[in-house]
């Protein structure tokens, strides 16, 4: 029996569940996004893949792809922290590029800065070599449906 994403969201967000979630989202699978659980926190991984290059000169990963990866990380991180998990809807997304993402794996971790009843604010940091030297930072607002 195949479970829908909605059903899978109710599971405990361990490494196996995160893998199932990512597999259910076509665009996340297309980018090849992976996730691991490390010390109680979720680490999202965007593997190095020549298909994702946006600047062939450097070469560097497409800035939009880095943003898409960070938005997906923020959404699943938020779901993993929800009491009654639902798919949140993105309201707005603000992205600062600090250094180009080279053709190597990119990592992302998130913090739910504020979770209200209807709106959540999630910040994301993405890095390649050291987590204290981020390639990009982002902030996303999500609407949590079905709370009114």
């Amino acid at each position: 029996m195949t479970l829908s994403l909605e059903e899978l969201l109710q599971r405990n967000p361990d490494a196996e569940t995160l893998k199932l979630w990512l597999k259910k989202v076509p665009y996340a699978s297309f980018l090849g996004i992976e996730a691991e659980v490390r010390g109680g926190d979720i680490l999202f991984i965007l593997p190095d893949d020549e298909r994702l290059i946006g600047n062939p000169g450097l070469p560097a990963i497409h800035g939009g792809v880095v943003g898409a990866f960070m938005e997906q990380a923020a959404a699943f991180h938020l779901i993993a922290r929800m009491n009654r998990p639902v798919l949140p809807k993105i309201i707005d997304f603000s992205l600062d590029y600090l250094r180009p993402a080279r053709l190597r794996p990119t990592y992302a971790q998130c913090v739910v800065t504020r979770q209200g009843r209807q709106i959540a604010n999630v910040s994301v940091s993405a890095w390649q070599v050291h987590s204290d030297e981020p390639n990009a930072i982002a902030r996303a607002h999500f609407l949590i449906p079905g709370t009114d």
Partner: protein, 161 residues
């Protein structure tokens, strides 16, 4: 950089789109140039879906299209011309949902150029320009002129042999 003619803008944007592997993979291509305004198209494909329950396009896919469109809008800006412009920041407001099965278009336009920064705005839509599904604004840093030989390889008399 001198001002580009309409056909030079078309050729430059087609060359840039062709040289970017991820843009080529998604089939992001030039739709239209209206003076200093640029419209790009991202053809629908099932891999772009973000919500498997509704079939809606992933917000991140719109980020890719808008980053791509706003990023190369400088080509159409008569004040700037084709420049190497790393993105400083990008903000996207998701005003609606891009439904399954529809091609997506993005419009970009440089609205202010300072000595070091290009300020660009734009939006994305499916059916009608009047009903945008996302709006974007961002800043790009002016680095250096793009080597015209990479944009017009067959037409440049200075191409070294």
């Amino acid at each position: 950089m001198r001002r580009l003619s309409h056909s030079e803008k078309v050729r430059a944007i087609e060359a840039i789109s062709e040289q970017i592997p991820h843009a080529r993979l998604l089939g992001i291509c030039l739709e239209r140039i209206d003076g200093e305004e640029l419209t790009m198209k991202m053809p629908y494909r099932d891999e772009l879906v973000g919500n498997p329950q509704t079939g809606a396009i992933h917000g991140g896919a719109l980020t890719v299209l808008l980053d791509q469109t706003l990023g190369i809008a400088s080509v159409c800006c008569d004040q700037v011309g084709p420049m190497l412009t790393p993105t400083l920041d990008l903000r996207i407001d998701h005003l609606g949902v891009a439904p399954a099965g529809r091609d997506i278009f993005a419009v970009g336009r440089v609205y202010r150029v300072t000595r070091r920064i290009v300020f660009v705005e734009g939006f994305a839509y499916c059916e009608s320009r009047e009903r945008s599904i996302a709006r974007a604004t961002g800043s790009w840093v002016l680095m250096s002129e793009v080597d015209s030989r990479t944009l017009f390889p067959a037409h440049s008399p200075e191409t070294p042999v």
